[in-house]
Amino acid sequence: MREIQYRDAVCEALDEEMARDPNVMMIGEDVAFIGGNFKTSVGLYEKYGDLRMKDSPISEAGIVGMGVGMALTGLRPVVELMFSDFLLVAADQVINQMAKIRYMSGGQAKVPMVIRCPIGGGRSSAAQHSQSMQAMVSHFPGMKVLVPSTAQEVKGLLKAAIRDDNPVVVFEHKMEYSNKFEIDDSIELIPIGKADVKREGTDITIVATSSQVMKSLKAAEKLAGEEISAEVIDLRSIIPLDRDAIIRSVKKTGRLLIVDEAYEFCGIGAEIAANLQEDIFYDLDAPIGRIATPNVPLPFSPALEFPIIPSVEKIIARVHDLTQR
């Protein structure tokens, strides 16, 4: 085990895949010369050169579309969008092109490409640089959607995404980039579509994504002091959704809380609750709870922003609600 920053785990994954496969390349705004706005590709431009590490103009639709064309013709591009909010600028290329071309071609085409983009509030970046777009992207068929939590997850899942023959959107949490994690180098790839039980428990299942996994683990630690035993599942992948892992856990605990930072309405919690209720309804001792970002644009002031986004305190309070019933 060694300690590593989340951002360096991203960089290692990119470096290792580019070294392994000459068809892997990266394109995005500020990815090359300065090594990424969040310093997630430092040193790769020097190592792989201009053609494989391409600084692009500010043309989100253009670069995602270019990625599709590259992926259709033998390359395995990784396109970085500087903030997940910018997926909306490229929405047609992401949703109508990248995700649908295989289907529209009747299976002739493969589109092995990755879009990486940071999500999440907490930096006073206001309404257009703080959103978590995983729920929106998951609404559309044709792409895998990953929400890695720790450095281990981001490295193993990003590498798996680059090797996947399907389009994959990898959401990295911008509040984690500077955080350090223990990483086990014997784990190279993390299989896409497998959730991970990060903490075992018996009273309630907390299903969390991305940064919310770490918040949930902190909440579970505090709850343990109150003799509430919370099981924390790191979802890791929204599409495909590991339904079995959640069902198995809820059959044991009888309670379910879903924590994800995307907007609440039509969000990840809503989908999991609806998607699983036929399988777990009679195992439940309490209603299914969810914590998400309420449907307000992310405000700028920390005084307004922090109360809006999910927090350890909110998770504890919600677990109290659900376990008292």
């Binding site: 103009p57 064309g69 109508n96 295989r102």
Partner: protein, 324 residues
């Protein structure tokens, strides 16, 4: 200047254009007979553009195509029976009925997909050009789109990148003057759309899109330039669609500027004009008739194949979303 086309190329031009013409006429018949689900955007009248352009590229080059894409596929030698079957939503179609008229893809012919979003395929073709440069293959990518796609952001973003990075991409504007009902001259203050090339620092060429030889000549030059690593070219082919935007659209909005507009363009029928010219230039009419008979046989067989083919099983709706 480009060299004079060989006799073989000359007859190939006619064969391709006549095939497109007959193909689209039969697609129109499908619609009139109520055999076709949805709609189709016909290439009638624009045959010289795809024919001239595709004759100037190699078998392994790439094509990005638009909603009005049947002509590009025929020009690439696509299987007309599989195309017809796709247009009718049949199991035997190129996409097993999942794509239809607007999304016929023939990856084995370098067709990266026709596209239902105006301007949607321009960055995709540009990415294929980047890929060719990356792999050092000397392939080129050709992006076909209409006049109105030049007002989409993807046009600007793509041409800008192709110009900045000298990508082997040729952008072919099939200027048929209308975006559905809107006259390009009413929404754009540029007489020639190819003039936009100046803004990107690349060549922009205007060509008579009703003259297959003229299209071929400018395309040959653009392709040679791209293969030599000198970057992209914009070609604007001035042409006209004989039908409305799609089958069933009479297109009468086009007569508001000039009641004779359609008539004038139809007098310049690129297929008939080239037929007459070929005969005048010494191709025996018997040879032309032989080509026409062969095409007629092929198209009839394609129609029969499409009509007789089964529809896909409903369970197939769930196939081909992801690959394993």
């Amino acid at each position: 200047m480009a060299k004079k086309p060989t006799k073989k190329l000359y007859t190939d031009f006619y064969r391709t254009m006549f095939k497109m013409r007959r193909f689209e006429e039969e697609v129109f018949e499908f619609y009139k007979k109520g055999l076709m689900p949805g709609l189709a955007h016909l290439y009638l009248g624009e045959e010289a553009v795809a024919t001239g352009c595709c004759a100037a590229i190699a078998a392994d080059d790439y094509i990005g195509s638009s909603h009005r894409g049947h002509g590009h596929l025929v020009a690439r030698g696509a299987d007309t029976a599989k195309m017809m079957a796709e247009i009718l939503g049949k199991e035997t179609g190129y996409s097993h009925g999942k794509g239809g008229s607007m999304h016929i893809m023939a990856l084995d012919l370098g067709i990266l997909g026709a596209n239902g979003i105006v301007g949607g395929e321009i960055p995709i073709a540009t990415g294929a050009a980047y890929s060719a440069l990356y792999r050092g293959t000397k392939q080129v990518a050709v992006s076909f789109f209409g006049d109105s796609a030049t007002n989409e952001g993807t046009f600007h973003e793509s041409v800008n990148m192709a110009a900045a990075w000298n990508l082997p991409c040729i952008y072919v504007i099939e200027n048929n003057l209308y975006g559905i009902s809107v006259d390009i001259r009413d929404v754009t203050n540029t007489e020639n759309l190819a003039d936009r090339a100046k803004g990107y620092g690349i060549p922009g060429v205007v060509v008579d899109g009703m003259d297959v030889e003229a299209v071929y000549a400018v395309m040959e030059e653009a392709v040679a330039r791209a293969r030599a690593g000198k970057g992209p070219t914009i070609i604007e082919a001035k042409t006209y669609r004989w039908q409305g935007h799609h089958v069933g659209d009479p297109g009468d909005y086009r007569l508001r500027r000039d009641t004779k507009e359609k008539e004038k363009w139809m007098k310049r029928d690129p297929v008939a004009a080239f037929r007459a010219k070929a005969i005048k230039d010494g191709i025996p009419e018997s040879e032309i008739l032989k080509i026409e008979n062969e095409i007629e046989t092929e198209i009839r067989a394609a129609v029969k194949f499409a009509v007789d083919s089964p529809y896909p099983d409903p369970s197939e709706a769930f196939d081909d979303i992801f690959c394993e």
